[in-house]
């Protein structure tokens, strides 16, 4: 069938539907390297303006770090631009394996396998390693890529209420008839910024003979005293069976992800995980940059310490100004607005004040839980946060929400 006028019309109706429900996403063009100060063209065609970026995953400020850029240049010169192959045909260089070894050392695991992204790692893992005799028991707020990966697996799928260990225990007891049980959680939850209770989860997993899977994409490099991740923070380093994580956030922010954990599970992914088998290798230039990132963050905790300070300082500024925040101590600080339209208007007004932040609402977060998600970076200096809070206060005043709690906010915007 050709792309007839009727087909076009049908898609146009769908797109209009997305627009009319306020869910239409528009890209903003950035004309500078990723950092805390960026130059943005938005809406498209408008003059470029400078703003403070408070919504990137550039947690350690390494996305445009000179040493990482230099290492990437050297990698490009030494190993070329692309591999033109998947890993198992002719796409594995020595540096791919070196990066996998370095990641295993950093994460405290037995082995690691690189994927084109953590989305791919999560999409490929479950189908490769578990079958219909097994059960996957996931926290209800895990990342969408885990949900997709679980759907591709033949294992029985169940969920437990977010961070509710009593509910998890009920589920583990209920599924004792399965061959293998796997508890699945994010380390730091991307929308709420709270941290999984990994210590208690590991204890329950031991009691009920289950494996533990953690997506630590929003933690690797900066959560825990030396930045190893949520397992270090919770005192269970070396006890997590599978960690998936990304090179696309704190670790330089380019792209790439991995499955890291028990040797046999990693090997099963190498043999069977479809995104690994049927996607090109991570480009050498990214591998070279990531090796430098690991070298930088293994030699000092300076950057994660600065990020921790920034997150605490920013949280204090927002609280002091009278915003309603989600509890937590990660660099993800959600400013709760509850109303979807308010979240959109608030983000637009912040941009007018020179602060780039994004509003999130259903279906990305549950209905009635709309928010502005702010994310801190080690690239932020104190003056960035002092300037950004002034913009937040101004916009907060404009909408009359400073000092209001959940009930008042919901009531105010219910009409």
């Amino acid at each position: 069938m050709s792309f007839s006028e009727a087909v076009r019309q049908s898609y146009q109706t769908d797109i209009e539907g997305i627009k009319s429900t306020g869910l239409f996403k528009e890209e903003r063009y950035i004309h500078s390297p990723q950092s805390s100060d960026i130059e943005v063209e938005f809406p498209v065609g408008c003059a470029i303006r400078k703003c403070i970026n408070i919504c990137s995953n550039n947690y350690l400020g390494l996305s445009s770090h000179p040493e990482v850029i230099a290492a990437a240049h050297a990698g490009l010169d030494a190993r070329g631009y692309g591999m033109s192959s998947v890993r198992f045909i002719c796409g594995t260089q020595d540096i791919h394996r070196e990066l996998e070894k370095r990641l295993s050392e950093f994460l405290g695991t037995e082995d690691t396998l690189l994927f084109p992204s953590c989305m791919d790692a999560n999409a490929g893992f479950f189908e490769a390693c578990l079958n219909e005799r097994d059960v996957l028991i996931a926290d209800r707020l895990v990342h969408a890529s885990i949900v997709d990966g679980m759907r591709l697996s033949k294992a029985v799928q169940d969920t437990y209420k977010h961070s509710d260990l009593g509910h998890l225990e009920e589920k583990l007891a209920e599924h004792q008839d399965k061959r293998f049980r796997m508890v699945i959680t994010d380390g730091v939850f991307s929308m709420d910024g709270d941290t999984a209770k990994l210590g208690e989860i590991v204890a329950l997993a031991e009691k009920y003979n289950a494996m533990v899977f953690v997506d630590d994409s929003h933690a690797t490099g900066f959560i825990g005293k030396t930045g190893r991740g949520t397992h270090e923070h919770c005192g269970v380093f070396g006890k997590i069976d599978v960690i998936t994580t990304t090179l696309g956030k704190a670790l330089g922010g380019a792209s790439g992800g991995c499955v890291s954990g028990r040797r046999e599970l990693v090997e099963m992914c190498r043999q069977r995980a479809r995104p690994y088998l049927f996607s090109n290798s991570v480009p050498p230039v990214i591998v070279a940059g990531a090796l430098k990132v690991l070298e930088l963050i293994s030699s000092t905790t300076e950057r994660r310490d600065k990020l921790e300070w920034n997150a605490r300082y920013w949280r204090g500024l927002l609280k002091g100004a009278g915003f309603d925040l989600k509890d937590g101590d990660s660099p993800i600080v959600p400013v709760m607005l509850y109303d979807a339209k308010l979240a959109q208007d608030f983000a637009r007004d912040l941009f007018d004040e020179g602060v780039y932040a994004v509003g999130f609402f259903f279906p990305v977060v549950p209905k009635g839980q709309a928010r502005i998600r702010t994310q801190l970076s080690a690239a932020h200096e104190k003056h960035h946060l002092d300037e950004a809070i002034e913009a937040f206060k101004q916009v907060g005043q404009k909408h009359g929400i400073l000092g209001l709690g959940k009930k008042e906010l919901v009531a105010k915007f219910a009409a």
Binding site: V147, Q157, D158, T159, K161, F362, P366
Partner: protein, 88 residues
């Protein structure tokens, strides 16, 4: 509210409503289309119904639409209880 409606509603509240979530669940509250119950979580509800009422609900009947309200779930249970009774 009859006995089955009460059992289903109680289960939905216990299993799906997060602590601190003060929304009211009635027989016609949308469960799946509102995002309260996702398609994974539906599995536990299906298992509960099959065990509690000694019925088998085939995959083809266990659609998100059929599970979207307490009222519809109760209708589904009644339908398959009749099917099971017919087998005796």
């Amino acid at each position: 509210m009859d006995e089955i409606s009460k059992v289903v509603r109680d289960y939905v509240i216990r299993e799906y409503v997060q602590e601190g979530d003060d929304r009211e669940i009635t027989e016609t509250t949308p469960l799946i289309s509102s995002g309260l119950v996702d398609s994974f979580s539906m599995v536990s509800l299906l298992r509960f119904l099959e065990k509690k009422y000694a019925i088998h609900i085939p995959d083809a009947a266990a659609t998100p639409e059929a599970f979207d309200t307490v009222e519809r779930i109760v209708a589904l249970v009644r339908r398959f209880r009749t099917v099971e009774a017919g087998k005796v």
